[in-house]
């Protein structure tokens, strides 16, 4: 069953929520963090329903966004259960909520006022659950029915302030009487529920209470089901009931009305006058709705249902109206209006408006060397963000698209936590608390052949030397001929530079060729610890990312050397392949270990086509740490997001 349902604004305030069991706020928070802000969660699209889901711990979350009101509707339920009606519930609830509280949501006080939405919600849940369980004879039916049965009571208990008058309400009322005979689910379902939970006498009272004549046949059917539960399905039903009873009691306690309301619902034989006086004593405002309810039995609930239905129907009809093509004249007018709006602004964007500019934008991104996959996803994200939005004053579609894309790029490139390498090294080598023993900080560098691993290692080494660290370079490329010699040259040059500038110290750790790289790395780290080095830089052999044999050795390497940071070097020249490179390397270190950052080399060779930055971050959500911008040791730079976005949008 549903665990909790929340309606919150994008600014983070929960406007209305209902939880059946306490769900920690971190569940929804992680949905916001991972899906909306970082966009890193790879959403599993269920096969038939298009709506994405997000799993956290034992919960599954589904959501809807309303762009006009900046609202998010989130439903949380246990992953074990398969609830097919959640999508429908989200759709309906979002429509109803927005329709009911349109004015309040637009006002300044939207974040302050209370939203008495409980009964609309309960009505929807009950209806959808009933629909879902009606035709099913699956073993989980009793539990589902029990859950459904519980809600009518709750909704009649709450009895919040009277619903705001809705235009559709008065029109719908005549139908209520008709509908009562055919589709009233309100009163009969209470029978099994109460017979099990409260005193046995209540069963007697309920059967004594006669419904309106039109319902008799249906009541008989229901009664038959109820007795079936009571006799044959008794054990099953109890099993489903026991864990839930405590929950239910808790909720009633919160309402603080449980006993009194039980009496009210059940005791229809009592004279209505008494009920009215007690109700008015308790709650003067709601007297009207109370009186009506006691007088006519379940009719108030029925009205609520119809009200809700009319809201939904209105929304549907409006949708079809807007989608249906109007006549020739109308379309001509709208075309002219659209053109005008495009210049003046204030145009509500539709998918059709965006199609052409988006295509152009996609081409532009592809020209900037962004991998196709990333470009398509970026465009889709922007499209989803923009459809249904109004353009600003004197803002064309293109301009609004461009600004949206810019912010989207900025968001993708900005790291969640900025990496300050020097500070991290400092905390590891000179720990503040006494328990931790100082140890060298281990950085290893991986990548495809020829992207510049050794060169960038040299640059990082130079940068660390400038900061007076003692650096050990470990030559773990035991495969390619000349690799160790290459590093030896680097080490010699750097040593000379550092002695000349009188900063830092550097040494090379090498074990020749043919050895197992992981063992060499492990030995190097131990050597570094024994000789009080601050940083150990490990160079690895280049490997093709789609070569399983070579990639699998990385897992052992990560386990043995246990680096603090694993950086992957990717070259800015690479195109579409960058996505797969980043992804494969990210997964190569086994479970629980990922890449920590990218170094994008050869940025000076591509001009403004720095799309690789976006492709790689897009594929993995891992930040870019350094950029290589030249041949010299000093040509290492940090990433500047505005700079990159500027180049990409130029």
């Amino acid at each position: 069953m549903l665990e909790s349902f929340e309606i919150l604004t994008t600014s983070g305030v929960v406007l209305w929520s209902k939880s059946y069991t306490p769900v920690g706020p971190h569940v929804v928070n992680s949905l916001i963090n991972d899906v909306f802000i970082e966009e890193k969660a790879h959403l599993q699209n269920t096969t038939n329903s298009a709506s994405p889901i997000f799993r956290k711990e034992k919960y599954t979350l589904k959501w809807r966004r309303s762009k006009d009101f900046n609202l998010i509707f989130v439903a949380v339920y246990q992953s074990l259960l398969h609830l097919g009606w959640i999508d429908k519930l989200l759709d309906n609830i979002s429509t109803i909520f927005i329709d009911l509280y349109k004015d309040q949501l637009k006002s300044e006080r939207a974040r302050v006022v209370e939203y008495p939405f409980d009964k609309y919600f309960n009505q929807q849940v009950r209806e959808l659950e009933d629909n879902a369980t009606a035709g099913l004879d699956s073993p989980e039916t009793p539990a589902g029915v029990v859950a459904a049965r519980k809600d009518p009571l709750v909704s009649s208990d709450n009895g919040g302030p009277p619903p705001p008058t809705v235009p559709g309400l008065s029109r719908a009322q005549p139908e209520a009487a008709l509908g009562a005979a055919t589709s009233d689910e309100g009163s009969p379902p209470q029978t099994p529920d109460i017979s099990r939970t409260s005193t046995p006498t209540s069963n007697h009272i309920l059967t004594a209470k006669g419904g309106p004549g039109g319902r008799v046949s249906r009541r008989q059917r229901k009664a038959a089901i109820a007795t079936a539960y009571a006799s044959s399905g008794d054990e099953k039903a109890r099993k489903g009931k026991i864990p839930k009873s405590g929950k239910k009691l808790r909720k009633w306690d919160a309402d603080g009305l449980a006993d009194e309301d039980d009496g009210r619902v059940l005791d229809y034989s009592a004279p209505a006058g008494e009920e009215d006086t007690s109700a008015s004593a308790v709650e003067a405002v709601a007297e009207d709705s109370w009186g009506r309810r006691t007088g006519k039995g379940q009719f108030v609930l029925k009205d609520l249902g119809d009200e809700v239905h009319s809201i939904l129907e209105n929304a549907d009809s409006e949708k079809t109206k807007s989608s249906a093509p109007s006549g020739l004249v109308g379309s001509g007018f709208s075309a002219i209006g659209g053109l005008l709006r495009n210049i003046v602004g204030g145009k509500v964007l539709s998918a059709a408006d965006l199609e052409k500019p988006l295509k152009a934008m996609e081409d532009h991104l592809l020209k900037k060397n962004i991998a196709r996959e990333a470009a398509v996803r970026l465009c889709d994200g922007v499209k989803q963000e923009l459809v249904g939005k109004k353009t600003g004053n004197f803002q064309s579609v293109d301009a609004s698209l461009k600004s949206a894309m810019e912010s989207s790029l900025r968001k993708i490139l900005t790291p969640t936590t900025s990496l300050d390498l020097l500070r991290e090294i400092d905390t590891v080598t000179n720990p503040k608390n006494k328990q931790a023993t100082p140890r060298p900080y281990v950085i290893s560098i991986v990548g495809v052949n020829g992207v510049g691993k050794s060169t960038n290692l040299g640059k990082i080494c130079y940068f660390l030397l400038q900061n007076n660290f003692r650096v050990l370079i470990a030559a773990c490329d035991t495969f390619r001929s000349g690799a160790v010699e290459q590093l030896r040259v680097h080490a010699r040059n750097l040593k000379e530079l550092s002695t000349r500038e009188n900063v830092g110290e550097v040494e090379l750790y090498e074990k020749g060729y043919g050895k197992d790289a992981a063992n060499v790395a492990k030995d190097a780290v131990e050597y570094g610890a024994a000789n009080k080095f601050d940083v150990v830089l490990i160079d690895t052999a280049g490997r093709r990312h789609n070569d399983q044999r070579l990639m699998s050795s990385l897992e052992k390497f990560a386990k043995f050397a246990n680096p603090d940071k694993i950086f992957m070097v990717g070259e800015a020249l690479v195109g579409t392949d960058s996505v797969m490179q980043a992804r494969n390397f990210n997964q190569a270190f086994g479970t629980g270990r990922n890449l920590d950052g990218f170094i994008i080399s050869k940025c000076d060779t591509v001009g403004d086509m720095v799309g690789t930055l976006v492709s790689m971050v897009h594929a993995t959500g891992i930040p870019i740490v350094f950029l290589g911008v030249g041949q010299h040791y000093g040509d290492l730079r940090g990433l500047s997001v505005p700079w990159a976005v500027n180049l990409l949008m130029k």
Partner: protein, 320 residues
């Protein structure tokens, strides 16, 4: 012909008005008394609308910014039973107009006598101020928090004038190194923006720059694991000092090649990195006041709602 008749009509009306009839007198009276009132309203609206005082709420995610804004909003609404909503991670900024409670002293009232009747009138027109809540998530800081700070602090428009920055910190989480580093590096960025502004103002014009003071709101003091404000200050100072040292040695951005040397502007506080960083010294050198006050957004159920934010409101009152 028609014009002639119109003319006659006009003449007739004029004559009628000057005749001393009741209508004429009524029109004259309305004009005599109405026009000054109308003019007063027009000019009063245009001139006397006070420059709204804005406060910017910054801080890492989960510090309690949205909760604070919501609490203040609920408090200043006239709801019978104020009840703040639960909150989640924010994605967008919000601007909320909030009333200052009457009991909180306001800086502009300090020259008034205790017996000044206008102090008594505070109940009728409570001081309003605006608080802008920003998301604290790492990805949104730069694009929403800091850019907001930049635009508000440099804006000429009196409507957007920034009276102060409230930087919220979760004192219960700050004992962990990770949270402390996050908070400190954000605070570092904020102070850097303010410092640049202060220095630029000093350079460009000699007129006294309206300083933007910073309040570090040590939230969640109600929790058992919370650090006291004094030790929060120490921790933040120490961490900012460390950031400063490593920044001074760090790499340049890729944009530095094109933009030219920005020089020493990028380092917070005194140019000599050897000095340790304290808020006090920062105030002396740059002229940006940093205060620190403890409080709690939640956890005061038995008392009046929002009793824990009293000290922050007092700070806000001192800035008005």
């Amino acid at each position: 012909m028609t014009s002639h008749s119109n003319w006659e009509l006009f003449e007739a009306v004029a004559t009628k008005l000057l005749e001393g009839s009741a209508l004429g007198i009524a029109v004259a009276v309305i004009i005599t008394f109405g026009v000054p009132v109308l003019l007063h309203y027009i000019f009063y609206r245009a001139v006397a609308s006070p420059p709204s005082s804005n406060f910017l709420l910054l801080g890492p995610s989960g510090a309690g910014k949205t909760a604070l804004v919501n609490l203040l909003e609920v408090k200043s609404s006239f709801a019978a039973t104020p009840k703040s909503h639960p909150t989640h991670t924010s994605q967008t900024t919000t601007l909320a107009t909030v009333r200052l409670p009457v009991s909180v002293p306001i800086a502009s009232n300090k020259y008034r006598s205790v017996n000044d009747p206008s102090l008594k009138e505070g109940h009728r027109n409570q001081i309003k101020y605006r608080v802008r809540d920003t998301p604290g998530h790492g990805k949104l800081r730069g694009s929403q928090g800091l850019s907001e700070l930049l635009s508000m602090s440099t804006s000429k428009d009196t409507k957007l004038k920034l009276r102060g920055v409230i930087f919220m910190v979760d004192t219960a989480a700050i004992s962990e190194a990770e949270a402390l580093r996050d908070a400190a590096s954000y605070l570092y960025d904020v102070l850097l923006v303010l410092q640049k502004r202060a220095l630029n103002l000093g350079k460009s014009s000699l007129k006294a720059a309206a300083e933007i003071p910073v309040l570090i709101a040590a939230n969640k003091q109600d929790l058992f694991t919370a650090l006291p404000p004094g030790s929060v200050r120490e921790k933040l100072e120490g961490e900012i000092d460390r950031i400063r040292k490593s920044k001074s040695k760090g790499l340049m951005d890729a944009s530095a090649d094109a933009g030219g040397a920005e020089g020493e502007d990028d380092i917070l506080g005194s140019y000599d990195v050897k000095d340790t960083f304290t808020f006090k010294e920062f105030e002396d050198e740059i002229g940006i006041k940093i205060e620190l006050a403890g409080g709690a957004v939640k956890g005061d159920d038995e008392g009046a709602i929002g009793a824990g934010v009293r000290r922050w409101e007092e700070w806000v009152g001192q800035r008005l």
